[in-house]
């Protein structure tokens, strides 16, 4: 679905005469291989290059070096830009700044309108995608009257209406309250499960990546860790090095293990920890 080879992106700052003042390497030889239908989470501190990577997948930025194939299309070629954008949709951080129309259903129709879909088909798609994110009953509302989580779901519907194979969510929850955050993450998982859309979730909230198929950790433009959530969270020390907040349950489990209790690495959920502790207690009872 998405294949990146040795992708490099440099932000070059020039002074008034056009001389290079400084070069910031936002992506440093990144390799990435995403299979269709996967749910991938990309974690990283601010400035780790994760948003830059996302913008490449949508052909909003062009790489300085390396190649990136989306759905088999080379994003650096001019004629591929629109097809790439259609097959890899993108949801941004600020819900207000990505809703174009003043009525929910018209905003969802914006993408299909741009790609030249016939009118009847647009209506069908708008209804389907609003239903898929659970916002059908707000179709005639003004986006200004919706909550942050609802706006973000409308934005997701707007992308879904373009029928992409892959959706990149670039910190979709950063500006939301906990309720809105849950709504958005649940919607992303439902889309992934129900219609097999590949999801790339970029975030710095650890709790949101627990259910992902695969987690990538980025730091200073490089992919520094990769694996299942369990594998990643079993390395608490390393995660802290990259200035990431490990979920509290995982830290507690880690501390308990270090103090000598027999608790497995990479505990992700509260129930798991409860179970592990109960088991330890039972074993000690028997002794």
């Amino acid at each position: 679905m998405i294949k990146a080879k040795q992708l490099v992106h440099e932000y070059i700052r020039r002074d008034e005469e056009g001389n290079v003042e400084s070069v910031t390497t936002a992506l440093d030889h990144v390799d990435l291989n995403v299979k269709p239908g996967e749910f991938i989470a990309i974690l990283g501190h601010n400035g780790s290059g994760k948003s830059t990577l996302a913008k490449h997948i949508n052909a909003l930025l062009v790489a300085s070096e390396g190649t990136l194939l989306v759905n088999g299309m080379d994003v650096s070629r001019e004629e591929n830009i629109l097809p790439v954008r259609q097959s890899a949709g993108m949801v941004f951080q600020n819900p207000d700044n990505q809703i174009i129309a003043s009525v929910v259903e018209e905003d969802v129709g914006f993408g299909p309108e741009n790609t030249g879909v016939p009118t009847e088909e647009i209506w069908r798609r708008v209804e389907e995608s609003l239903a898929a994110v659970g916002m059908l009953k707000y179709r005639h509302h003004s986006p200004n009257k919706l909550s942050g989580g609802q706006k973000q779901r409308v934005a997701i519907a707007g992308v879904v209406a373009m029928q992409p194979r892959c959706i990149v969510l670039d910190e979709p929850t950063a500006m939301l309250d906990p309720n809105g955050r849950r709504e958005v993450i649940r919607t992303a998982h439902e889309l992934n499960r129900a219609s097999g859309v590949t999801i790339l979730l970029i975030t710095h909230y650890m709790e949101e990546v627990v259910d992902a198929d695969r987690v990538l950790v980025m730091d200073q433009g490089k992919v520094v860790m990769q694996g299942t959530p369990r594998e990643i969270f079993s390395q608490v020390g390393k995660l802290k090095e990259y200035r990431l907040d490990v979920p509290q349950v995982t830290i507690l489990a880690d501390l308990l293990r270090q103090s000598g209790l027999d608790i497995p690495r990479g505990v992700l959920r509260r129930e798991e920890l409860v179970e592990a502790v109960l088991r330890v207690a039972q074993v000690e009872d028997m002794q």
Binding site: K55, N58, L60, L82, R85, Q86, G89, M90, F92, N94, D96, N97, Q98, I99, I100, A101, S102, V103, E105, E106, G109, F110, G111, P112, E113, N114, T115, G116, V117, P118, T119, I122, W123, V126, P143, N144, G158, V159, M162
Partner: protein, 270 residues
């Protein structure tokens, strides 16, 4: 407090006028304005009044909503009336210092008042029965021929609809910045006009900065959704003329013809 402002004054109701194609309404309003300024004679005035009353009736918008618009230009109407009363040359009926009241003046002032009142009432029917979005759509479609001579009609319409979408957001933001500045001791209320204007600077600078940032974000979001200008775009809600639109066109043209006929043959008493 700033939140309560709604743009446009659309009055949702179910009526034939609401359902008309926005292009018909734009065209009719234009014809109506022309007719207001070229009618002559009592017969024509009656036709105009009947036409206006009929449309108001059919539009299902309460009359007091339209009268609201009149209040805004009350001062303008008074000034126009006074100027017409005293500055029209002719036989003086009554002289008071430099002021001369003439029969023509009275007639002109009365006519001007009627014209302005009818103008506001007539045009407010359009804004009351058409959503800003429909209006933009109508303008885009109606002005499309101009794109052939290089006028970016689609871009202008898109800009208008985006502006409409962001007005409430920016108003809310202004409110927020104002409160933030007030919390740090800014004073927007006291002082003379110059001071008040000066105190707006710390409000406007952050507002502009954020507006530019939003514009940047929005442009990227639009590009990400394959926006590529007007070419090859389809419409979710395309404008299509129906039977009632044709009927409306005919009505308006007959109306204009009647006014012009009166102007030629029934000029009495003007």
């Amino acid at each position: 407090m700033l939140r309560d402002i709604t743009l446009g004054q659309y009055y949702p109701a179910d009526s034939v006028i609401h359902k008309l194609d926005p292009r018909v309404k734009l065209f009719s309003t234009m014809i109506y304005i022309i007719s207001l300024f070229c009618f002559r004679g009592v017969a024509a005035l009656l036709i105009v009044t009947a036409f206006l009353a009929g449309v108001i009736r059919v539009s299902n918008v309460p009359f007091r909503y339209m009268v609201k618009g009149l209040r805004a230009i009350l001062v303008l109407m008074l000034i126009t009336a006074v100027f017409n009363l005293f500055l029209t040359p002719g036989e003086p009926l009554f002289t008071f210092g430099v002021f001369r009241l003439t029969a023509e003046g009275i007639r002109n002032a009365g006519l001007m008042l009627v014209r302005l009142t009818y103008l506001i009432l007539g045009t407010s029917i359009m804004t009351l029965t058409t959503t800003p979005n429909q209006l933009t759509d109508g303008l885009e479609k109606a002005l499309m021929p101009f794109s052939k001579i290089g006028i970016p009609v689609h871009a202008i319409a898109m800009m208008m609809s985006i502006a409409l979408r962001f007005i409430p957001i920016l108003i809310e933001e202004t409110d927020k910045i104002m409160k933030a500045q007030m919390a740090r001791g800014a004073d927007f209320e006291s002082g003379n006009l110059l001071r008040k204007v000066k105190s707006m600077i710390p409000l406007l600078v952050p507002l502009f900065v954020s507006a530019f940032r939003r514009a940047d974000d929005l442009a990227m979001a639009m590009e990400a959704r394959c926006y590529n200008g007007g070419a090859g775009r389809t419409k979710m809600k395309p404008l299509r003329y129906g039977k009632r639109d044709a009927l409306a066109y005919v009505t308006v043209i007959v109306y204009l013809a009647l006014i012009l006929l009166c102007r030629r043959y029934l000029r009495w008493p003007m």
